[in-house]
Every structure is written in structure tokens, then in C-alpha cells.
């Protein structure tokens, strides 16, 4: 089943293949960076709370804002990839 799937993908038009690569690169590189960033944020949060547990409430708001700002990078990649896929 899987091999036939790959075969179908290979038989597609060359331009479509290029678009698919663009989309995959957009999402893949975007999520690479965001993955590192999100790991950093939560790691730092754990360290901060371990050192000063009384600050947890205040830190949580900042943590989620940082999380969303970082996570958004994936979606810029996704939107860029989709634009490449649909428009070009």
C-alpha cells in the first residue's frame, strides 16, 4: 500500500512535486525552529519555578505568551508553504 502511494507521488507532474517540496520545507523548517524554541521556553519555566516556586502564577502568563509567539512561527511557515502550493 505504502509503496503504491509513493509510486503515485513520483508519477505526478514535476511542477506539483516542486510545490509539494516547497510546502514540506516551509512547514518542516518552521517547526524545527519552533520546536527548539518551545523546548527552551518550557525548560526555562521549569528551572524558574524550581528556583522560585512562589513566582509560578506570574510566570505562567508570560510563559503562554512566549509559547504562542514561538508556535506562530510554524504557522508562518505553513502559510508561506500553502501560498507556494496554491498560488504559484
Amino acid at each position: 500500500m505504502l509503496s503504491s502511494f509513493f509510486f503515485l507521488a513520483a508519477a505526478e507532474d514535476g511542477a506539483d512535486a516542486g510545490k509539494a517540496i516547497a510546502l514540506a520545507l516551509g512547514i518542516g523548517l518552521g517547526s524545527l525552529g519552533a520546536g527548539i524554541g518551545i523546548g527552551n521556553i518550557f525548560g526555562s519555566m521549569i528551572q524558574a519555578v524550581a528556583r522560585q516556586p512562589e513566582l509560578r502564577g506570574e510566570l505562567q502568563g508570560i510563559q503562554w505568551i512566549g509559547f504562542a509567539l514561538t508556535e506562530a512561527c510554524v504557522f508562518y511557515g505553513l502559510i508561506g508553504g500553502l501560498l507556494a502550493f496554491v498560488l504559484v
Partner: protein, 292 residues
Amino acid sequence: MKRILALAVLAALVLPSVALAAGSDDSEFDPSEEWNLQTWGPELKIGPIDMSINKAVAYLMLGTIVSIVIGIAFMRIRPGRGPNRRQALGETIYEVAQVQVAEQGLPTKAIGRWFPYVATLMIFIWVVNILGFIPLPLSDERWHVAGISVPTLAIFAATSTLSVTLALALMTFVFTHVEGIRENGSWAYFKSWIPDVPKAMLPMIIPLEILGQFMRLISLSVRLYANMLAGHMLILTFIGLIFLVTPWVFPFSVLLATVFYLFEVVIVVSIQAYIFAALSAIYIGSAIEPEH
């Protein structure tokens, strides 16, 4: 346990409906078809502006009604004797909006004026997001059963269209600058955009800072839009694998779709509503009291 059961029932309701929505069409399955909005009823055009009703508009109207009802039910109707659960829930919502959103970004003198706006943003976006994950009979596709055609149950969030989130972000953008100019005077406000740098750097910094103000608009709207779009697209794609590859991927794709569905409902929906409101508060707050 009860909560898990309720979620499982909800998921069980959602997944076949997505499958039905996809299966009712004879043509090849394409998840992005969901975002081709068809006009419902007559076309209403005011000049160049298209005012006709489609799926996204219907979801927005429903979201407006539900958020008004939430506001009235939890905040306005007086509780009976002693605190009850409804009051506790209302106070929790209020406290999140007050402590986590408004006080985080807004300076103390501006909270009274801008708290209603950011709280409304939070509740409205949360409601529209969560409506997007409840299967509702608001769909472009129709399902013929016993001679009558009913709209299929489908999941679609109005916030997964760029126009909606861009309109919300534009409101924050306009309010930010109006409030900044009103509080500081236009010269002082625009001067506060530019950081302290050597004079030689200014020609490079000024365009970047102006561009940065517009990037806020884009990042605010695209963040919410792409989050909801990607969530729905993932669920639809995993269910769609059944039609695209072979029916035998059914257990695998339903499992993954359920996992993503729960992730979206439990985490993403609330985080995005909170983030949108909190960033709006921070932007407005930083315009009222610039750092220098």
C-alpha cells in the same frame, strides 16, 4: 472520569460527521474544499462590499449570540442566596480576563476603559473557536435522507478564515494608535516608536520600526487564523486518508484525528483566545505608556 467520557462522546459524534461530509461528495476528497465558502440565499452587495451570508458569517452570528448569552447568564443574572456554581464560573472567567489579560498589559489608569474590550475579545474568540469543534448542521454540503436534504454536520471555525481574524486584528491596530495619540499627542507618540540609537542608524531604523507596527497586525491575525486552519486541516486530512489511500487505515486515522481533536479543544482553543486578548492588551498598554 466523567469529563473524559464526555470528550469521548463528543469525539465520537464529530468523526463520523466529518467522514459523512467527505463521503457525500462523488468527486475526489480535498480538505481545502471546506474553505470554499458558498453564498447562502440572495446576494447582498453594498457597492463593492459583499455582504451576503455564507458559512463563516453564520458561524460568526452564532458565536455573537452565544457570547452574549454567556455574558448575560454568568455576569448579569443575579445569583440566588449564597454563591453557586454558575457564579463561581462567571467569577473565574472574570478573574482570568482581569488578572491574566488586562493587568498583564494595560497600565492601571487604562484598565477601566479597555478591560471591556479585551474581555470581550477573549470570550468572543474562545466561543467562536470552540464552536468550530462542535459538529453543527451548518455546512455547504447536503445530505439526502428520506427525501429531505439536510446540511451535513460539519466542523468549521469562523476564525479559520483570514478575513475574520484580520478584522479583529484591525480593531486592535486602530485602537492602539488612536489611544496612543490621544494619551501622548501625535508627535510624542510617533517619536516613541523610535528607539535611542546613533543618528547615523536612523534612516535604517525608522522604516523598520514602521514596518514592525504593521507586522504586529499581520502576526496577530495570522497566528489565530493559521492555528485554527491547521487544526481543522489536520483532522480533515487524517479522516480523509480513509478515502484517499484505503479504507483499512480507518483505525489509525481515527485515532490520530481524535488525538489532534482533543489537543485542539483542550489546549489550542483557549490558548489562542487568551493570547489574542493578552497581546491586544499589551499593544494598547504600550501605546498608552511608551517606554521612553
